[in-house]
């Protein structure tokens, strides 16, 4: 048992004070993400599909954005949106897809549908990268 644990520790190397990482040891999947650590960059990976990514020192978070007519308040989770988030409206929602999949978390309200369509994915990426409060809301919505 100790050998297994030591092997897992060595294989994953997640125990430095500032480390955040994802790894697999045999068939065990481990993901550990800091709420407070900001990313270094972010981008919209596919504007049409509203997908985004944010790069952190040791990994990349990717996810989805959605605009719909379901209002929310800042950083609130909507578990009912888990499978279908909608694709038109002024309310912008973000979801982490990898390395862990979260529920949808409300981000912002836009003045028009088109403004949300063009801005929501980028806003999700920026919020995940730089807004610790929002990142915490996403990470706390995993379960």
């Amino acid at each position: 048992m100790k050998k297994t644990l030591v092997g897992l520790i060595c294989a994953c190397s997640v125990f430095a004070a500032d480390a955040q990482t994802m790894c697999k040891h045999k068939n065990t999947y481990i993901a550990s993400i800091s709420k407070s650590t900001n990313g270094t960059s972010s981008t919209v990976t596919n504007a049409a599909n509203k997908t985004w990514s944010a790069t952190f020192p040791n990994y990349t978070i990717t996810g989805n954005a959605a605009c719909n007519e379901i209002s929310g308040t800042a950083n609130t989770v909507n578990t009912a949106l888990y499978t279908t988030a909608g694709d038109q409206g002024t309310y912008c929602w973000c979801q982490m897809q990898t390395p862990l999949s979260s529920y949808w978390v409300f981000l912002d309200t836009y003045a028009t549908d088109s403004a949300c369509t063009s801005g929501c994915a980028g806003a999700c990426a920026t919020a995940i990268q730089s807004n610790a409060t929002y990142r915490t809301a996403i990470l706390n919505s995993i379960w």
Partner: protein, 141 residues
């Protein structure tokens, strides 16, 4: 195994009594999907082709499809799988992480697959560590 999990949880500074595998410390959110930990219950929705297996640390859920692409039991495919109404049952975890598609079994009729595939996914993720290994082990780190 319990000792192993608890030690691991301790290292991640996750002290909650029920947080043996999923930990949320003051700063880190840590998820450990260990195929040797068995589920406690499962549910499925045959019409929606969705399934959920309850583990001591939280719910693992996913989707199922039936097509005519063969595979080996518990082995993940590198290819995307789509619902085409066939007899081959495939399972994919979507929460709390996204796995690849893992093959379950060939049913004798397409209707059997449609009726039973979501059930099969939830059942085998709950009970079979080999099948869980295919699912948890196919998450891209």
């Amino acid at each position: 195994m319990n000792k192993y999990i608890l030690l691991l949880a301790g290292i991640f500074f996750c002290g909650a009594a029920n947080a043996s595998v999923m930990c949320s410390s003051s700063d880190y959110v840590t998820v450990v999907l260990d195929p040797y930990v068995q589920g406690t219950t499962y549910t499925y929705n045959a019409a929606a082709m969705t399934w959920t297996t309850v583990f001591p640390y939280g719910n693992v859920s996913g989707v199922a499809v039936c097509n005519d692409t063969g595979g080996s039991y518990g082995v993940a495919s590198n290819d995307e799988q789509y619902e085409t109404g066939g007899v081959k049952c495939w399972c994919k975890m979507t929460h709390p992480a996204v796995s690849r598609w893992v093959f379950y079994f060939s049913r004798s009729a397409a209707s059997d697959c449609a009726d039973g595939c979501a059930y099969d996914c939830g059942y085998h993720v709950r009970y079979d560590s080999d099948f869980r290994s295919g699912v948890f082990g196919s998450v891209a780190p």
